[in-house]
Symmetry: C2
Subunit: 331 residues, 2 copies
DNA sequence: TTGTAGGCGTTATCAG
DNA sequence: CTGATAACGCCTACAA
């Protein structure tokens, strides 16, 4: 069917037209009669001619490709939060006719150099960086100083460019305030990865008295981490009666362990997660959590990025997506 | 820092060497003295020189890029099964020094043509297709006849190329046989998308007597679909006492609805899902399911693909990943 | 409306 | 070991 790859020169010779005409038949630029264009397209389909994408990119300097760099921490469990962002970004990009190239950041040593190679060699017309790893800053800064449209999802310390951020700090504050309001006495915080701000927000919401009694667990990023966090916490402070987990995955693992120990949720321990991943609502007990609206974030990030790529000069601001405290059964 | 993009000509002139030497300093091919190589690399870092990726691809005909095409059905809920595959493939590719370009298949009309453009214009060195949509066949066939290494994840009717498949039919059979063995009387099947084979396997496992009493629900692909499937099923056959759901997401939604109606799981209704997504184990009741080992599948697919890309001539066979019935609390 | 020819930035070939 | 130069395949002024 598609025997041999044919180039524009051979193809145009076969049709008896010039390469320029062939080019015009596909690019949509330059004048060409409808008849010859249709003829050329028809024969192209027939002969399997396709413009070589590299040659095209070389001359036009366009790639129609967006790069996304995201933290990929856990080897053994997928990160549902990242997954939801990734899927929504991929889809939003596709709808805009852009392809998405994915780059997990695993923090190995050779990575930064490779990332710079990709970015600076002109692979991408636009770049999305999901904050949460050391390399994130480097990527965003490099893209920025190279003049490549780029947007950061999540907060990055001291970053200047465009970003879409969730108010995690505010969300965490809501969680703390809620525990205080319902009269819980011994709060705990189970940490995620790079979540200082969340912890601070939670402390603020708790108020000074409760905050003084806060127990903090190292947590992690997987269901299993949440599961073991429960045991550690009970060892550290058996009186704990409410806990805020830095993400839903941790919260689910935590609750599972608690229920295995016959603790009642939320009577004995109230649990609030963070992210509102889709499964949170269907978990039993349904998970109270801070809704971050990942899908919306992915879509907004792409939409802002496309705007920058089109050269629409909006100030590279910070699009803040507000968080809600969603109270379900676990707290 | 990265003021202006500099090309090899300017750069080599600046250093007083030829472009060929510069090229050799980075490509690793051709002879070059260690001293000049180091010098060139150092000055490149200093001046911000980077080989243009399109020009390089144009001459070498290499892209170091793999494409993945996957079904993206639901707009409002992420597909966790796909997500787990996507994350594992992305990571495995990255570890092999290949970038992954993602293409969700949403079944809109213009898509097939775009996909062919990408594939035939030389975007990819290798292609992964996740079966489950109409366009899957087209993609795999096109790649195959264009001589591009490609592998299919999941079963595709009448496909000839390399593939990694899960034994879903066998897994479904195990589920049916289990229900029969424990003496359930009124089986039901909640369908996913394109899951005829699963249904058949389940029927085989059930055996003729039970199969005659099977109720089938249309199901779907989201938590919400599973949730409504419960209500429909109870309306269609209130006596149902065991159900096999085509995927875990459906099963979780289903169980949620059942529990809301105060049905006991598994006493009143036993539920088995399919996929063994990570959250299944942490759900309450923990979900009995058919383990498909997505991560392993993603890794195996990439590893097989890389082998083909290196030209190692293994017969383009079918790598069958076996399924297990994982019994937890829901059945 | 169409054709001609130069240029995009690398790598590969072939001398030196 | 290094340098000059011809591809690589396409796009796009410019000319016809």
């Amino acid at each position: 069917m598609v025997g041999k790859i044919i180039n524009i020169k051979e193809f145009s010779k076969l049709l008896g037209v010039s390469t320029a005409t062939v080019s015009r038949a596909f690019s949509g630029r330059g004048r060409i009669s409808g008849k010859t264009r249709d003829m050329i397209r028809a024969r192209a389909a027939e002969l399997g001619y396709r413009a070589n994408i590299h040659a095209r990119s070389l001359t036009t300097r366009r790639t129609d490709r967006i790069g996304i760099f995201y933290p990929s921490i856990s080897m053994d469990e997928p990160d549902y939060f990242i997954a939801e962002i990734l899927l929504s970004v991929s889809r939003a990009a596709a709808e805009a006719g852009k392809a998405l190239q994915t780059h997990p950041i695993t923090e190995n040593d050779k990575e930064p150099e490779m990332f710079l190679d990709y970015i600076l060699s002109g692979s991408f017309e636009g770049i999305v960086t999901v904050a949460g790893s050391k390399a994130s800053n480097l990527i965003a800064e490099t893209a920025g100083s190279a003049g490549i449209p780029n947007i950061v999802i999540g907060r990055m310390p001291g970053a200047g460019g465009a970003s879409v951020v969730f108010q995690t700090e505010e969300g965490a504050r809501l969680a703390g305030a809620y525990f205080k309001r319902v009269g819980r006495k011994n709060p705990a915080y189970v940490r995620g990865v790079l979540d200082r701000r969340k912890q601070q927000g939670f402390i603020d919401g708790l108020g000074p008295e409760l905050a003084a009694r806060l127990t903090v667990d190292a947590g992690g990023s997987s269901f299993a981490d949440g599961h073991t966090a429960y045991r550690r916490l009970m060892a550290a402070n058996p009186a704990s009666d409410c806990v805020f987990c830095a993400n839903d995955v941790l919260a689910i693992g935590f609750i599972k362990a608690a229920m295995e120990s016959s603790r009642r949720i939320p009577e004995d321990i109230a649990v609030i997660g963070c992210d509102d991943i889709k499964v949170a609502r269907y978990f039993t007990p349904s998970l109270s959590t801070i809704a971050l609206h990942e899908r919306e974030i992915g879509e907004r990030a792409v939409s802002a990025l496309l705007k920058m790529m089109r050269g629409e000069t909006s100030p590279p601001g910070c699009d803040i997506v507000s968080c809600d405290l969603v109270l379900r059964a676990s707290a």
